[in-house]
Amino acid sequence: MTAQQTLVAVFAGVFATLLVASAIAALLRWRLAVGAASATIDNLDARIKAWWVMIGCLAVAFWIGPAGVIGLFAFISFQSMREFISLTHTRRGDHRALLWSFFFFLPLQYFLIGIDWYGLFSILIPVYAFLLLPITSALGEDTTRFLERAAKVQWGLMICVYCLSHVPALMTLEIPDYEGRNALLVVFLVLTVQSSDVFQYVWGKLLGQRRLSRNISPSKTVEGLVGGVLTSTAAGVALWWMTPFLPWQAALVALAINVLGFFGGFVLSAIKRDRGVKDWGHMIEGHGGMLDRVDSISFSAPIFFHIVRYWWVP
């Protein structure tokens, strides 16, 4: 099968899974007494609807090609950074740093990925933005909580732009015997990590007993985490045929990115907890904001990119 046919087959499979999920949700709602409301089922419905839209957008992006994937993730980064910065207090002195972040570093990062300049896109934000943005903030002459503010802007750029940009960056890797099939690597990453979120939620609802972390994530349970990570690792192994990995390698890689994905959500929850909010935004009904959806990908994407680059690109 050509890469194109594989992609179509994979998306067909995903849409079929969504159909099953929608059917199950409809069944659960039908079994509910007429007129009774259930917050859980409403939430489930909203989540599944949001998944339809998100998978649809991903499918369209892939259909357009590498430019579509870059454009989609540039938009995701933009919206995520909006949510991140909106919730973390910065002051007037940071205005120019924020302008540089949104209107210079973000587009430049994605442009560099588009032209496949690895040497620059891998260090643009951790080195150049890291050094230049505090300079603009310092020139703003406002020293109140200066270090905190500079760190917040850098974190926003790192998590929302640098880390997420490693997803479309996967398309630039030159893997022998895998030419033209890089889109499948992106699908592997997104499916494995996002399914981890979904399975953690499902296992948590089914078997959840012991709370994981009272302070940071009140609703996550140990059972949900273990069940979710193991199931999604199995799902990753089941997808080994569309990657350049052998099944045992796919298992290890999937385990690594799932564990990191969980910690991505965990760390960002710690930030949310400090601000006293449950979600980063409200763009996606049933899930919260954009950042709530991609926090796990933001932690796993760079590691996945470098694992593949180190072991599979000569």
Binding site: E83, I85, S86, H89, H95, L98, F102, F103
Partner: protein, 209 residues
């Protein structure tokens, strides 16, 4: 008329796109009642954001209160403030205010006409945190119209979108929190009413760093 309507639609759409504004009605709901919405003032775009977030039916009967000295200077501003926003223009020059041109008088007249108002009791843009001391206009207005509800509205983040002195906005997410309405009580004097209004507004502010 059509140009005014079109401009209004463009402005509302633009404001929502730039700020992703979300209106949270925590203390009341968007009913077509006569109200005075009072909010914190951090940016020139404050009243535009509140105005744009109201449902269309309410928006057509809600008039922002704006300073005549700023808005009547220039053709475009006049057009915007008179035809698009239908603002109540008040004279802000302190001191020489002849009888009949009293700001409270204008605002009360607008309320008499069945419209709701959007006012900023701080009087001027607050470039810092928290709230500046309230001016007494809101108290005098409440005394003239004790039956009208005063709804506090907290605007979050707009001051960071385009701070004073900047030209390009940062596309941050703004939120509007509409709180519990308050009415002036017979035993309220200037100090107690202003204190209650101020507390009602501060209650809506999120925890600061």
């Amino acid at each position: 008329m059509v140009v005014a309507r079109l401009t209004a639609a463009v402005i509302c759409g633009g404001a929502k796109l730039l700020t992703g504004v979300r209106a949270v009605w925590c203390g009341c709901s968007p009913e077509p009642r006569r109200r005075v919405y009072f909010a914190n003032h951090t940016s020139h775009g404050d009243f535009v954001l509140i105005w744009a977030s109201l449902p269309a039916a309410l928006r057509h009967r809600t008039r922002p209160v704006a300073g005549a000295d700023y808005w009547l200077a220039g053709g475009l501003r006049r057009f915007l403030v008179e035809r698009v926003f239908r603002a109540v223009l008040v004279d802000r020059t302190p001191g020489a205010v002849p009888a009949g041109r009293n700001p409270v008088h204008h605002m009360a007249a607008a309320l008499d006409g069945g419209d709701s108002l959007i006012i900023f009791p701080e009087g001027t843009r607050n470039l810092g945190e928290g709230l500046l001391p309230f001016k007494s206009g809101i108290y005098h207005l409440a005394k003239v119209h004790p039956e009208v509800e005063f709804v506090p509205v907290w605007i979050e983040n707009l001051g960071r979108v385009m701070p004073k002195g900047s030209l390009i906005p940062v596309p941050l997410l703004c939120s509007l929190s509409f709180g519990q309405p308050l009415r002036i009580a017979p035993e309220d004097d200037r100090t107690s009413f202003l204190a209650r209004a101020r507390a009602g507004l501060l209650d809506l502010a999120p925890a600061s760093d």
